[in-house]
Structure formats: structure tokens, C-alpha cells
């Protein structure tokens, strides 16, 4: 109980730190986003028009910093993130449209990478000395240290350019109408193929290696030796005894990584022009669309925090030792 309160307290403190960081950072920036917007439109700007636009779009820069901070906290708590300057729409609307694409592409692929990676790691560790165990570490150590964007570029080059079945940008083609119809769904899946493949290639290595390492340690434990001595069949030992215990740290790591889904989305979506959360974060940063950037950053942080909390709870549920140890 005390542990849970401790974690909750940490959650709140971190949340507050992020919210405040979000508030402070844009105000350190020189210039004004309105100036940039006007510069896009011929640069024929008067001070009066500038001020009028600022008021119209709700950019309040003349109150004291503390007042602005309170307003900001209040607005955030109410879910009012303001209007996105580049989209001229409420930020919540922009995010609402984008978040499903990110969750869909990267969430699903991460789950896949986890499941596949864990299975391969288990099998590899079980067959110590086999060819799989021999190639696993070097191959996957290398694949997990390749920068993602390079794998993406290679895929675009080798596959996407020559085969139109593997589109290299966008979430779906504009000819299809969104909705639950078969052409749309196939189109979305087609567009997700290359980015998903790139994510899989770069992230699966981490899961394989972690799983393998923990499995190896567990396999050296006494109770596994006992199980073998008892004559239990190999696969049963592998899954029921060894893997179950080895999976614990992996599982909490996985829960954490779901939070990082949103964070890792940035490079994927930039390279493949996928209109998800990461893409809009980049767009907002490049165009100084602070309302959008703040909201997205907050969203990502909250997601990670929630995931970590969930991971902690999951570990406490699955592993009784953590409950008593503290």
C-alpha cells in the first residue's frame, strides 16, 4: 500500500514537472509564431494587424507570467489546449485525428515485435549451443544498433521504389473513402507495411536479447535443474518454469515500452509521412506551433507515466516477492 502511494506521488510530481516544463520552454523562444505566419504571407505586416491576429487566436502575451501560468494550468486540467496556429483548429481536434494512426501502426507493431522477439529469445536460450544461440547475439545486437531511419531508407529504396504494392508515404491514398470498407482497410494495411517492417527490424533485437539473457540466468537456477531431474518434458520446463519467471522483467519492460510507442513514433512518421502524433509534433516544432507541441508533449508524457504505473502494478500482481520486499 505504501509502495502504491509512493508511486502515485511520484506520478503526480513528474506530471507537474512536465506541465511546467511545457509552459516554460516556449516562452524562452525568441520572436512570435504570428510573425512567422505573416512572413509566410508576403511579409507585408503592420503592427496593428499582428496584434489583432494575436487576440483573435487567443495568444495572450501581456499578462504577468504567474497569471499566465495559472491560466495555463487551469486550461490544461480542463482539456483546453488552445488553437493550433498551423491548422487553425482546436488542438484537441488535431490530436484526436492523429492519435489513432500512431496507436494503430506503432502500437500494433510493437506488440508484434514483443511477442515474436520473446518467443525467439526463449527458444534461443533453451537451445544453448545451437546455431540459433550462436547467431542470435551478434546479429541482433547489430540490428538493434542500426538507426531506424536508415533501415527505413533502405526499405524505401529496395522495396518501395520498385513495387507499388508497398507505398512509401502516407497512411492511405486519397482516392479511397475512409470508413469500414474493404478497399480502405486494405489500403491502410498496404501503407502500413513498410513502416511496420522497419520498426520490426530495429526493435525486435532488443526483445530477443533481453529475453534470452534473462532466460539464461533463470535456466541456471536450482528449480529448473530440479525440474529436469524430475524428468519433466523439455517444452514444459521451457514454458511453464523458465519462461514464466524470465518473462517478468520483460513484461514490465514491455508495458513501459507501450508508453514509448508515442515517443518513438516521431522518426517513423517523419520518414514515411504518416499523419500520426509524432508527425504533428515535428510539424509543430518546425512551425513554432506551440499549442500543438505542448499538448502533444503532454500527451506523450502522460502516456508513458500511465504505462509505467501499469507496469509497476502488473509486476506487483505477478510477482509476490515485490509486494513484501518493497
Amino acid at each position: 500500500m505504501r509502495h502504491a502511494l509512493h508511486r502515485l506521488g511520484f506520478f503526480v510530481v513528474t506530471l507537474w514537472a512536465c506541465v511546467t516544463l511545457n509552459f516554460v520552454l516556449p516562452r524562452l523562444m525568441p520572436g512570435s509564431p504570428i510573425l512567422d505566419m505573416m512572413a509566410k504571407y508576403r511579409g507585408h505586416v503592420t503592427q496593428k494587424a499582428l496584434e489583432a491576429i494575436e487576440t483573435a487566436f487567443g495568444i495572450e502575451t501581456h499578462a504577468s507570467l504567474l497569471t499566465q501560468y495559472w491560466q495555463y494550468l487551469g486550461n490544461t486540467a480542463r482539456g483546453n489546449f488552445g488553437i493550433s496556429l498551423t491548422q487553425s483548429e482546436p488542438v484537441s481536434q488535431v490530436i484526436g485525428g492523429a492519435v489513432w494512426w500512431t496507436l494503430g501502426l506503432i502500437g500494433v507493431t510493437t506488440v508484434l515485435a514483443f511477442i515474436l522477439g520473446t518467443l525467439i529469445g526463449i527458444v534461443g536460450a533453451w537451445r544453448r549451443g545451437g546455431w540459433l544461440d550462436g547467431i542470435l547475439p551478434p546479429v541482433f545486437v547489430i540490428t538493434s544498433s542500426i538507426p531506424f531511419f536508415w533501415v527505413g531508407m533502405l526499405l524505401i529504396l529496395l522495396v518501395g521504389r520498385f513495387d507499388p504494392r508497398f507505398p512509401t508515404s502516407g497512411a492511405y491514398a486519397y482516392g479511397t473513402t475512409p470508413g469500414f470498407n474493404w478497399p480502405f482497410i486494405t489500403d491502410v494495411l498496404q501503407h502500413a507495411l513498410l513502416p511496420a517492417l522497419a520498426i520490426l527490424v530495429t526493435s525486435i533485437g532488443g526483445w530477443i536479447l533481453t529475453m534470452r539473457n534473462t532466460m539464461v540466468t533463470v535456466l541456471a537456477e536450482d528449480y529448473v535443474r530440479m525440474a529436469r531431474a524430475k524428468g519433466l518434458p523439455g517444452w514444459r520446463i521451457m514454458f511453464d518454469y523458465a519462461a514464466r519467471n524470465a518473462m517478468l522483467p520483460n513484461l514490465s519492460g514491455f508495458a513501459m515500452s507501450l508508453g514509448f510507442v508515442l515517443s518513438g513514433a516521431i522518426v517513423v512518421e517523419y520518414l514515411f509521412s504518416y499523419q500520426g502524433v509524432g508527425y504533428y509534433l515535428l510539424l509543430g516544432v518546425v512551425n513554432q506551433d506551440y499549442a500543438l507541441v505542448q499538448a502533444l508533449f503532454l500527451l506523450i508524457t502522460v502516456a508513458v507515466l500511465v504505462a509505467i504505473l501499469a507496469a509497476d502494478l502488473l509486476t506487483a500482481v505477478l510477482d509476490p516477492r515485490t509486494r513484501t520486499g518493497g
Binding site: 511520484f10 510530481v13 513528474t14 514537472a17 512536465c18 516544463l21 520552454l25 524562452l28 523562444m29 544453448r128 549451443g129 545451437g130 544461440d133 550462436g134 547475439p137 551478434p138 545486437v141 547489430i142 538493434s144 544498433s145 542500426i146 538507426p147 531506424f148 531511419f149 536508415w150 531508407m153 533502405l154 524505401i156 529504396l157 521504389r161 536479447l209 533481453t210 539473457n213 534473462t214 539464461v216 540466468t217 541456471a220 529436469r228 523439455g234 508508453g259 514509448f260 508515442l262 515517443s263 518513438g264 516521431i266 522518426v267 517523419y270 509534433l281 515535428l282 516544432v285 518546425v286 507541441v293 502533444l296 508533449f297 506523450i300 508524457t301 508513458v304 507515466l305 509505467i308
Partner: protein, 330 residues
Amino acid sequence: MATMQIPAGAGQAPEAGLPGMPGSAGTASERAAGRIWRAVKSNKKALTGAIILLLFVIMAIIPGQIAHDPPQAFIYGRSLGPSAQHLLGTTPSGQDIFAQVIWGARETLIIALVSGLLSTLLSMIMGIGAAYLGGWWDNGLNLITDILLVIPTFPLLIVIISYYPHSSLIPLIAVLVITGYSYGARQLRAEALSLRNRDFLEAARVRGERRFYIIFVEIIPSMTSLIMAVFLGTAVYNVIAAATLQFIGFGDPNSLSWGTMLYWAENGEALQTGQYLWAIAPGLCIALLGAAFALLNYAFDEIGNPALQRVKLTRRRHSPPWRIRAERAR
């Protein structure tokens, strides 16, 4: 990321053969260094990683001897294919790609090594310092580290670097260090905490040694391999993060590094216009550098935890097939 297994039997007499543990002869750091060197030599993965790294270091130190063309001069023919004069061809602006790759090693390595070192240093201060000082220091430093651990690093990187975009190395390195140190700090703190109650430290305290002496002379040398692992792990992360930032366009486009080359290649639509080498060469180098650090890192893992090492299955007749004899891999 590397996970160090703490050898069982904490508090017992240190066993010879385990790296980082003080023995009877010589100082702890000397013996650790010697052990590490022997371990690297014998481990194939470590050797490969070390050789790759060495090659890049040579490229960074004497680029002029390897590539005779100036890397940034706009004096050659535009968009030429590979030839004897231009091993990798030229850019659409008339620069020699091979020279850029060779010269690019310098800045890329500097970023990786400097940010890796600084990050490890910060991890040590925040991790070991917190563990040893204990009390409110521990709570305070830990809170900062945990917050930074939890805030998603890449978005934070992007948001912060957007305030210094297109600028020189110093903001880039500073941002990488601040956002990347926390994982290592956590690992080091955990290890330092476990070491805190060991006999040899108790002996030092009883002897009346000062705190800093204990930290620098006793604790840190005992954690050499973990510190190495933290450094290598951070180096991998920094190489990739820096290259990615530069690729997206947040680096200094006038600088000469592999990430910047990829930025120009992407802007020049290298892949779409058939100038494949322009994009592939620097990307391959980044991948190799990351792989080198990662291989060394993994090898250090194995050195620290012998159970992870490559084993050879030996089948003896009349023996149950699942009997495994572990041998140190040659």
C-alpha cells in the same frame, strides 16, 4: 540495454577471475584494466567491435591521408557516378562524397565519445553519488533522475533542440547528455547500493578513510566493467540520436558528419534520383559505428556474466543428450 548480474555470494571473499573485484596484488584499477584487455582479446564479438572502432578512429585522426580531396569544396563535376577520381561519386553541388564520408568520421566520433563520456560522468555523479551519500541527497538526486528517465527522451530532445536548431555541437551534446544520462545513473546507483555494505568498504570506513577516498579509490574501480557498459550503451544511443536529429534537420547543416550528409542526401532526394551511394555510405558508417559500440557492450555483458557466454554443445556417447558442458568460447 546491458544488464549486469551481481555475482552471488555478496560479502564473501572475492573470487579471483571475476573482473572488477580487488585481489591481493596490484591496485584494483590496474588489475581490472588488465582483465578487461585480456577479455576483449579473447572474445570474438568484442574483437570485431574494437577493430571497427579502431578503423573509424584512424579515419578521424588522419582523414587527409586517406581522402585527398577537400570534403566541402564545390569544385567537382555535379552528380557524377563512382569513378577512380571519386570513389563514391559527387553530390549535385559538386562535392566529393568519399572525402565527406572519411572526414565525417571525426565529428561523428567526437559527438559519440564526448557525449558518451560526459553522460557517463553525469551518471556516475547522480548514481554513485546518490547511492553513497544517501539520505536526502539520495532522494533528491534520484527524483531528478527518475523524472528524466520517465519523460520520453526523443520528444524532449526534439523540443529542446528546437530552441537551438541548426546550431553547433555544444547545444547538441548538452541536450544528448541531459536526456540520456538517467538510465545509466539508475544502473550505477543500484550496483553502488549493493556494494555499499561489502566487507572491503566496511574495512575502509573502519580505517577512517574519507568519503571521497572511498568513492574514488574503492567503489569506482570495483564498478569498472559496469561503468564501461554504461559508457558503451550511452555511446550507441548518442550515435543514433545525434544522427537522427541531424537527419531530420535539427543539426548544423554546415557541419561535416555522417548525420548531416544524410540530411543533404534526403533533401537532394538521393534515393529517388538514383544517387544511392550518397545516402547509403554515411548510413552504413553510422550503423557500423553503432554496431561496434553495441558489440563491445554485449561482450562486456558476457565478460561480467559468464553464464551468457557462447557454449559449445558436447555430446558424449551414453550420456543424456541434454547434458551441457560449458566452455569458455575461444
